[in-house]
Homo-oligomer: 343 residues x 2
């Protein structure tokens, strides 16, 4: 990141970065919730406190380990137009900065988030590692799916599996069975799995700050009728999108394509969320694939494609793939079998 | 909470509460990171979104499940002086509110936090439950302490133990052995435990939103010399404070008392953090027991007392108790043996 390229188009003399994912992006520092980055024309440096005496080694940019008073001195030295992250910095923190520094504090939005959209090969490598571990965790979880087992037990086994291997969970794993499958954001509950139900498992790992995200829906024993048809519709919508996904495509059109395919099954009204989202230092980041976003996919972006059908009071299906946009076409980062499976 | 008692002294017509712990405090709603509370003279109500169709049942105050546009309509109806939580609300969120609502938006600090200082018997009961589980987890962890076991393995076992029993961790358990014990905020690492080291375990559970917090330091095999003396000093400082702790006492004086006792051992300069903090819906909340706080302890407050001695390059000791301030004296909520123990 060249400070001049970043600051000049915004007419800024400096940028104060506080959102943890952005701090980590600029510095690689693994405790970004306790650190900030100040970008000036002289370069970018990390600010943190004496809890992290080893910051200089852990940061890829110069680090200053400062007590509160010393940090205030840094701000007192700021002049000119200094950008801050308006969607992250609390009002009171801005007021304190305004009292300390004789600078003009300028609200900015999405500056570093835009840089994060396209991943470097090193970033993709970390996402790959996270995805590989998540697939191992899912394979393990499938061995546990039996009538009587609680959703929460399956979710915890996924979590423990990942943590024993040195990873974190990207989010608390979702295990939603039977009628709970109709709730797109259902957390794993105390409900026991029952034969004849669909089970949706949505899970991700986090490795060196980077996330993965994937969903599979499986049948516990024999399932047919409208739930099987919902599965077929979801799978068709997913594969329709994967066929054409690639650089230069519009996020809005990809979302519309999935809905069009679901409409052939007369199920489009049961797809109640957007088609996908970027994945990286945040598990949900740009670009969004939705009816409301007008973005163009570019090589290096990593996005999910996750159509779903949610039938209230009956059950639901979601299938989610993790995809790297390439110079031509895509690479599927999620490799776990996605077809109909009765376990 | 009576809206009039809350709003009138602040000269407010309404208060918009966004900090999750405060939202949970006012509503009991278990997903407070996705909800807000609006307090008006007509009463307080919860605002959340369609991900939580069951909010009306899960909230102790009236709940409104609203889409984004519907929520904006609520703000458009606000008039007069409306307080917001300045230390939590991001700058950009305030700007959006200012555009929507013809009200005067007034920054407030610590309004709900002050209400949270003194716990009700129901709140204490949840902290008790969390503490009881944490003590079970610690007893389990002690059976694992052997040379060659990694700090991280012990920490994960504590985490899994708590989660299997339906609780969450209050924070990632700290397991700091040998020289790492000299870092007060050390996370559990890949370091293996070795015979002749002290091991500091700092852990808490979270039950129904409420936390516990306790630390023990144990010897792995035979330990003596300056580390044993550091232990004796820490224990003496802790017990000196516990003897006099109670309602009406000054937080600053309690902190000073611990330092005075450590000074008798000439170890006070190695006590590099404050003596304690309140515990409740946040694991660190008011009142602080430190050289910088001037607060008076009152019945119903739940605080930690956690002196420590950190000898750089050598090792460290911390012993932390969880205490309920009562009408006369205290009740020790943490019951785990605290004396010198070689395992
Ligand atoms: Mn997703
Ligand atoms: Mn503590």
């Amino acid at each position: 990141m060249d400070p001049k390229t970043l600051l000049d188009p915004l007419g800024l003399d400096a940028l104060y970065v506080t959102r943890p994912e952005n701090v980590r992006y600029l510095s690689g520092f693994p405790h970004p919730e306790d650190a900030q980055v100040l970008v000036t024309h002289e370069g970018a440096f990390l600010l943190t406190d004496p809890r992290y005496p080893e910051a200089e080694q852990e940061s890829q940019i110069p680090a200053r380990v400062l007590k509160r008073e010393e940090k205030e001195e840094v701000f007192k030295g700021l002049k000119g137009r200094v950008g801050f992250e308006a969607e992250h910095l609390p009002y009171a923190a801005l007021e304190r900065l305004r009292e300390l520094a004789p600078a003009e504090w300028v609200p900015t939005k999405g500056v570093i988030e835009r840089l994060r959209l396209k991943k470097t090969p090193e970033e993709v490598e970390r996402i790959r590692k996270a995805q590989a571990l998540a697939e191992e965790a899912l394979a393990h979880a499938l061995t546990l799916l039996k009538p009587g087992v609680l959703e929460r037990e399956v979710a915890l086994e996924i979590e423990f599996f990942l943590k024993r291997r040195g990873a974190e969970v990207a989010f608390p794993p979702i295990v939603a069975s039977g009628v709970r499958g109709a709730l797109p954001h259902a957390r794993a509950s105390e409900k026991a799995l029952e034969a004849g139900e669909l089970v949706t498992l949505d899970l991700g790992a986090r490795v060196e700050g980077y996330h993965s995200d994937m969903t599979r829906t499986l049948a516990l024993g024999r399932v047919d009728g409208e739930l099987k048809r919902a599965f077929e519709a979801t799978l068709a919508a997913l594969e329709r999108v994967l066929e054409v996904l690639g650089p230069g495509k519009s996020t809005k059109e990809m979302d519309a394509l999935a809905r069009e395919e679901l409409k052939r099954f007369d199920l489009d009204r049961y797809f109640v969320h957007s088609l996908g989202h970027g994945v990286g230092l945040a598990v949900h980041e740009g670009p969004g694939l939705s009816p409301y976003t007008e973005e163009t996919l570019e090589a290096g972006m990593v996005v999910t494609v996750e159509p779903g059908v949610y039938l209230p009071g009956i059950g639901g299906v979601r299938i989610e793939e993790l995809v790297l946009i390439q110079d031509t076409g895509i690479e599927l980062l999620s490799r776990f079998p996605r077809g109909w499976q009765e376990v």
